[in-house]
Structures are given as C-alpha cells and as structure tokens.
Symmetry: C2
Subunit: 424 residues, 2 copies
C-alpha cells in the first residue's frame, strides 16, 4: 500500500514537472485567458462542485466536525462565484514572469541580466478549505508553475470536483491537464512522499495550523516556505496616544480572532500602565476576552473589576487564535524588546508611541517579518499591502519574508550573452 502511494505521488509530481514547460512558454495574455476560462467553468459547473461539497459536509457532520471548520469547508453557489472571482482577480494582476530584476554590461562586454522565471512545480499542503484549492491553482498557474495540491481529506470530494473542472479547461486550451494535480486521495502518506520528492517539486508551502507547518518543516527534503504562526505583540509605549491605542488594540484583537495577524500578547510600559490597562484592556474584557496577566498587570487591574487569569510561562508562547490575550507590564523599551526577542514567532509586532526615538529603535531592533508603528497588526496581509493576492505569510528569513504575492512564488535566473568571450 505504501509503495503504491509512493509510486502514485511521485508519478503525479513528475507529470506536473513534465507539464510545466508548456505553461512556461505562454505569454501573459494566454495565461489570463486560461484563468478567466477556469472562472467561467467553475460558475457553469457550480452545481457539480456544490454537490460534491455536500458529500464532504455530510461525512463531516457524521464525524462531528466543529462549527468553524465546517464553515471553512462549506460551499454554496455564492461561494463558488466568489472563488471564481479570485481567479478573475489573479488574471488582472501583472505577470511577475519576465521582469528584468537587474542587468548590466560588464567591462569585457558580456551582457548580464537577472530575470524572473517560474519556480517550476509548487507543492501546496493545506487544510480542508476548497477555496484554497482554486486560489493556489490560479496563482501558481499565473506565476508559470505547475501545482501539486494536497488539501485536507475532509474536502476530498470538493477538491476532486474543483480540480476536475480546472483540468478540463486546461485540456480545452490544449495544455497538459497535469499542470494541476491533486493528491488528496493518498492521505497523509501522500504528504510524506511529496515532502521527499526533491528534484520533482521545487518548493513546498504549508498553510494551516502550527502542527501541520511543524510537520512539514521538520520532515521535508524539498525546500519549504514556512508560513503563518503569529504570536503577535503590541507594545503600548509610555508616550502612546491612548485614544489611538484603544482603537488599535481592539482592532488587532477583536476584528478577526482566528487569524495569524491577530494580537496575542499586549505589552504595556509601566509609566503608563495603570491608565492604559483601564482604558485599553478593560474594554477587551467587556468584549469577552480572557486575560492571562502577569503579576503587575493583574495587580493594577484589580480595582477595575476585570477578571484575569494568572499568566503561566506557556502563555508567552501561545498563539491563542481565540478570545484570549496575554498581558504584561514592562519596565522600559529594552525590556519590551527583550520580551519580543524571546517570544515572538517573527510574524508581526507593533509599537504605539509618540516618541521618535522609541519608534526608530523598535523598527530597527525587532527582527520580525513585519514591524509596525501606530497601526493595527491586522494590516500584515498581502491584500492590505497591495499585492492583489496572497499565498501566505512567510515567517522565515529565506526567499520571502512577510506577505507573499505572485512575485514570491517565482525564482530568477541569470542570462549571460557574449560574442565569443573566454575568461582570461
């Protein structure tokens, strides 16, 4: 059985690799027409997709899926239309392929150009969200790469239906269907094989919970772009504008709680702690947030009537993705920077301050993908950054850091043109 899975997944990856050059030869117009045709086909065949999704939902309900996961899994005609719109949006984006990144003519007359080219084969491993299937396929194709898709098993029927539609459009455009390949049917063993498909898959992008990402990072022989985990900090500095701080902290914590750019730890400078806790934190408690407070903040909050839980060591490293918040009072900016250095996952941190020197130091010294001043961490997002699309948010330092758009799923190569040049 395992040998069958190995053979099948390696064959799938190889067929994607063999198919990719046909895509690499297309110009932007052809790729955009392809994506628009895929959007049309998804809308035309939405009934099929919704029907397949109903089968996944029935199985999930029988297994007792939780409400949040069910919502992410569910598709109706409206959602299929929205997903098709994502393909149209991808078609509207500029083509990253072909960009001349830098170039020069060397002393000896050699012409040198670094140009942006497709990655090749992109492997996407994600959870049971059928919209990611469309999104990942559309963006990979636009960036000139073939894609091997592994969504959660709970979305098997939905993903199979969607991938079927996309492949039929490829065939209708005289392109190899294997530019989009699904390996959901091979389950977790399929992911294990994909992670070892070095030489066939050029990059693996895991999207989902911390467990999935850790598993891929630790086991993959294929290069990985680590995404997502956000133990995000906001520091309310001594000089913060508290009116702004109230709004920013509420926005960062409450606007959407289950996402990686939501606030997870609030640090408050001790010189402003009492007032800041009363004005900024108490409203969060009223909105249903459970506070995990260090000793000082717990003491200062005593008089406000806000209930708190004493913070444990784990709280400083926990990404709650829920109505929970770790709170600590810090001695000064150095203490805040040290706390962030010790506990940040390198996703996003923000300082709220009116002091120029504090802002400069925070922006310079915090070593995270996105470092902010006087803004909500919720802006750490490819859409907000104007990328038009987002594959994920990289928390690693290699290749891409922060929100990833089309450019971040390409690579480059050097073109060197001579006229008989030899090296002296």
């Amino acid at each position: 059985m395992e040998n069958d899975v190995t053979t099948a997944v390696l064959a799938a990856a190889r067929s994607a690799k063999d198919a990719q050059p046909s895509l690499a030869r297309l110009h932007r117009g052809d790729k955009d027409r392809l994506l628009l045709a895929m959007a049309d086909a998804l809308v035309e065949r939405a009934d099929e997709v919704v029907e397949a999704n109903a089968r996944d939902l029935a199985a999930a309900d029988a297994a007792g899926i939780d409400a949040g996961l069910r919502d992410r899994l569910a598709l109706d005609l409206e959602r299929v239309t929205a997903v098709a719109r994502q393909l149209r949006d991808a078609a509207a984006l500029p083509d990253p392929v072909g960009e001349v990144i830098r170039g020069s003519v060397l002393e000896n007359g050699l012409e040198l150009r670094e140009v942006r080219v497709p990655m090749g084969v992109i492997g996407m491993v994600y959870e049971a969200r059928p919209n990611v299937t469309v999104d990942a396929a559309g963006l990979s194709l636009k960036a000139g790469s073939a894609v091997v898709l592994r969504g959660g098993s709970a979305a098997l029927h939905s993903n199979t239906a969607i991938i079927g539609v996309l492949r039929s459009v490829l065939a209708a455009h005289d392109l190899p269907e294997d530019l989009v390949v699904g390996i959901d049917e091979h389950g977790r063993e399929g992911v294990d094989v994909l992670m070892r498909a070095r030489g066939l898959v050029d990059v693996l992008i895991p999207r989902g919970g911390a467990g999935l990402i850790r598993r891929v990072v630790e086991n993959s022989l294929v290069p990985v772009i680590e995404t997502g985990t956000g133990k995000t900090h906001v520091l309310v500095d001594a000089s913060a504008d508290l009116d702004q701080a109230v709004d920013i902290v509420a926005n960062a914590k409450l606007q959407r709680i289950g996402v990686c750019n939501a606030l997870e730890t609030l640090l408050v400078h001790r010189d402003i702690a009492e007032e800041a806790l009363a004005r900024v934190v108490v409203p969060l408690v009223e909105a249903g947030v459970r506070l995990h407070a260090d000793e000082t903040s717990a003491r200062l909050l005593e008089g406000t009537g806000a209930e708190v839980v004493p913070a444990t060591a784990e709280d400083w490293d926990t990404e709650y993705l829920a109505l929970e918040l770790a709170v600590a009072v810090v001695e000064d900016l150095d203490a805040a920077l040290a706390h962030i250095r010790a506990h940040s996952t390198g996703h996003t941190e923000s300082i709220l301050t009116r002091d120029l020197r504090s802002q400069q130091r925070f922006l310079a010294e915090v070593d995270s993908a996105v470092v902010m001043a006087n803004a909500s961490t919720r802006f750490s997002d490819g859409g907000e950054f104007g990328f038009g699309a987002e594959i994920g948010i990289s928390t690693q330092k290699l290749h891409a850091r922060g929100p990833m758009g089309l450019r971040e799923i390409t690579t480059s190569k050097w073109l060197v043109v001579g006229q008989g040049h030899v090296r002296p």
Copy 2:
C-alpha cells in the same frame, strides 16, 4: 560525549545569536574599520597562523593527504597576506544592509517599506581551506550577521588560530567575540548538531564536495542554500562559429579543471558534428582530456586518431572535476534541451550559435541558475559578475540562484508606519 557536543555546539550557536544585535547596530563605517583591523591583525600575527598551519600540514602529511587538498590547506606569509586582502576587499564593498528594496504609501496613508536587514546567524560548513574561514567571517560580518564556522578537521589548528585573531579584534572594538564562533573541535557530530539548531541558526551554507552538500541538504532542519555541484553543458549548435567554439570550449574545460563552472558535458549538433569534433574536441584530447563519447561521436572521432572511452549512463550525470569530458552528438536543439533537462544540476549551461532563434530558445528554456550564449561557462562566478565577493554559487531556486554576493546573505523585513491606523 555526544551530549557534551550537543550542549557545546548549541551554546556556541546561542552565543552567536545573542551577540548579533551588537553588530546589527553598527553603521557601515564601523563595520569596515573592524574588517580593516582584522586584516591588519592577521598580517601582524601571520607567524602564529603559519605555525598553526604547519601543525595541520604535518598531521596531513603523516596521514598521506593528496596534493590538491594539501595545496588548499597550506598557508605561508604570502597567502596570509592575500587572505587579509580579501577582508580589505570586503570592507570596500557597499553595505547591503539598509537598502530600501521597495516602498509606497498605501491608499489609507500607511507608509510601507521593505528594507534589507542582516540574516542573523549564518552557519558555514566547508572543507579544509583556511582562506574560507577568513572569507566567510568577513563577508558575514559585513552583511551584519554572526557566523558559526565549521571547516574540515584537517585545518583545525589553522582555523583555531585565525578565529582567535578575529575574535581578539572584536574584543578590542568592544564587540562580543562570539560574533565569530568556530566549532571545528566538535568534529562531524558538531555539524549534526548545527544542522538541527533551528531557531538559533538562520541559514546553513555548505561549501565543498557533492557528498558534504548532499549530507547537509538531506539532514538539516535549518534552511539551507545548496551550492556548487556543476554538471555543466556546452552546446555547439549547427550554426556555431567554430573559431569561437574552439576557444570557448578549451577555456571552459581547461582553464581550471577542479571548479564547479568548468565544462563537464559537450553536446554537438549533428549537422556540424564531424567538423566540430575534429576542430573543437581533438585539441582537448591532445591537451590530455579523456573523452567519454556516445556512439555517434565515437564513430565520428575514429578517423582523427583521438582515443575515446565509450560513455556509460553514469557519465551523463558525473561532475568529473578532472581532465575528463562527456561528449554526445544531438539530433537538434530539442534533443539538446531534453538532454540538459535530464542531466543538468542547474548550475550553468552555454549555447554556441549564430542563430537568433536558437539563442532565444536556449536562454528561455534552459532552467539553470546561469544560462549563456557564446561565452565560456567559467564566467559563472560572483567575481566575474561584479559582486566583488562570492559566498558560493546557489543551484537551488529558493532565496538565491547563481553566484551569491553580500546581498544574497541578507534578508528583508517590512516596516509599516501609521498614524493610528485600524483595519476597517
């Protein structure tokens, strides 16, 4: 014992990580003065270094080291001076840190900047070449990163002496000595620990033979930049200028045989095969090159008196790094592209042609770090590209592709400055 190594190497990596922020705060002038002081100190204390090297050489001679490795290991006063000059060259290079890569003001007034920042801690794993110790340390420091160095055990005394000199200069500049850390004393187990030091080491760069690189790529949990293996191809197209081809092929194969950008497989278009083999290949044989020839080229070479060995399947995938060359006659450009696609390591390939369409297709369709037309593969080099320094040549698609200079050992982060911005 193994636990001791684990503890010691993790402590070394952690101390480098803790030291790095002091370096990140330095401006270019400070970093350059540091490198110049290191160069001076190496020259002043050259006797110490040469003496330590003599101990390594004595041990290597006793163990029966081969001449090539001995030459790379050996240091004398002249070579120490040359190595010090590399540090002065690094000081003269522009500082990559602080570059604003892109930036804009968003619709909502948020200011967005992507800036180049140091990687953090760079791990270098290489073979017994003491000059790499100086080079890797100098370039890492210039790029704002601390460095953990693991050279071959055969250079233990030399590396220890060199690292001692560099660390004393750091101390004299009131900087933490642990910005440069050596772990040679911990042997191969030390490398195993370093490869698992995720969170302490930001990138691992192996430099050396294919075995070393494979071992690091397959076992490292720390992100790796794969360097070096070059199964390099030159295609003599039907329309090639054979006068140029004679010079380019001789240069690519013979100028320096043990390097990754040296020619390893020559492909010849069948329409020009007989004349090309006689004019381009026969002189190589006369220069001592052993040919591993496919059937057609062997047959065509029969009349020339050049001796050939029949090529085996392995020859198409062997990086000889020696006076050996694989030769094949190809039906047409498509066959050449297919051969390269099947056997290239993605390092460097070159077409020799006078046909515009052939050049265009070759440059577009060959998926290697460096793709050339009418030039010797020996130009695939950071120095030749004008980078001023080279850490290695990346053959992977993630992060850096082709020759890597200072810029390629940095990362970036996003700075977002608001005035109380919350996400609607």
